[in-house]
Symmetry: C2
Subunit: 254 residues, 2 copies
């Protein structure tokens, strides 16, 4: 540990993990990448990471482990880490839902687990879409750990990559992102599907202006990942969509 720039392992080198690896490497951190062999090769070739490792090796060698896999995979990794983590190993994640993983960390008595969620991304995915500037200007939600030192370290990493940390508790986070991210995702799909189901609108989809393109851009996001996210935050997403539905119904009646 010692120095001011902790060594960081990023587990999952997709859009968010790959971008984080690039940004931390650019800021002078030593970054280890964990992913399947062909992704690791790409990340090494792009100099997004200095080396690659398994999750267990990464836990032994790094000061901070960032879980950047899809939600369920990250939860499974958390359990694996709990078995090998030395006391004080900072573990954090970048997932879109905080309740389930924060509860799992408590259950596993990972006192240095910090919930994290950068409000950045695009409809693209995979390491090929990653870029060091992804987090610039974005909010980075942080659900504090019992271990205050761990929270401080993660806040500093968020600032290092240009984001501004926002301390929040897991329940409030999940409520808020249902309105600001999950419901908009579902609405984006619904708009595109509705247009595609109408024969006339489908035939003239290419005539759509910038408004429609902006509103259906998210519909290009990876469906499997989003199903998992929506399922993890099901209760809050249903609530937010019901509120959107009420606003819509009000406008229809006007």
């Amino acid at each position: 540990m010692g120095g001011s720039r902790p060594t960081v392992a990023v587990v999952g080198l997709g859009l968010v993990g790959g971008s984080l690896a690039r940004a931390l490497t650019a800021a002078g951190h030593r970054v280890l990448g964990v992913d399947r062999p062909h992704v690791r090769r790409k990340a090494r070739r792009a100099r997004a990471v200095q080396a690659t490792a398994s999750t267990v090796e990464a836990a032994a060698e790094c000061d901070v482990v960032v879980l950047a896999a899809p939600p369920r995979a990250s939860r499974a990794l958390l359990a694996r880490l709990a078995r090998v983590a030395r006391p004080g190993l900072v573990v954090t994640d970048v997932g879109s839902v905080k309740g389930p993983i924060v509860r799992e960390a408590r259950r596993l008595r990972l006192r240095s687990f910090v919930g994290g969620h950068p409000m950045a991304g695009t409809e693209r995915h995979g390491f090929a879409a990653s870029c060091a500037e992804l987090f610039r200007g974005a909010a980075w939600w942080i659900v504090p750990a019992e271990d205050e030192r761990a929270t401080r370290i993660v806040r500093r990493l968020a600032r290092t990559v240009g984001a501004h940390p926002v301390i929040v508790d897991a329940a409030v986070h999940d409520r808020v992102v249902a309105f600001l991210s999950h419901a908009p995702q579902v609405v984006s799909w619904a708009l595109l599907e509705a247009a595609r189901r109408d024969p006339a609108a489908r035939r003239h989809l290419s005539a759509a202006g910038p408004g429609f393109r902006d509103m259906t851009r998210l519909a290009g996001s990876p469906v499997a990942l989003w199903r998992e996210i929506l399922d993890e935050n099901r209760h809050e997403v249903v609530r937010a969509l019901a509120e959107v539905g009420r606003r819509l119904a009000g406008k229809r009646g006007r």
Copy 2:
């Protein structure tokens, strides 16, 4: 007439009319502007128009009159033009709904009225937001006139400003734009309102990422103008929103 560049009057120098005046002037057309005195002054100062006139003067002096006022005002102008227009004066509009104005033109026996609607715009409004490049790459719906020469002239104007004309009948147009433009507008408001009504989401609105910002950008559009548009296309908008609502309900149930 004679030359290949008809003289064009643009009635209403807001975002769309102002942009059209700028684009046609830039392409070498003589353009007359019609609007309230303080807007005319701005348009002249910006060299978006060569001169200004009243609607009646413009009808006498120009080859083409483009109605670019809000929908109801444009319909009222159409009736006024019908009383002074010489045979062959090409009249067109840029409104978001085509059924009512096309019916009105038929009722007034304006054989050279061409329904028009460029699928371009931003959430901003007024002459200050206008720009000559607004239509570049956009579709420009055209509901043909009885007078084929009039249709040809308007198609050429659309191409001149960088748009690609799409011939359509009024009913199909209104169906399609309900899905591609009007429903998205209403959904954009609903998303923003839903987030603002939730105390936690409202407090954290500034943490929203690019997805939410894109999806609520349209919510900044002028409300009075949009109320008119939605009211004019009420039947199709209700239909499209119902379909969006069904897609949403399907996803909620999943």
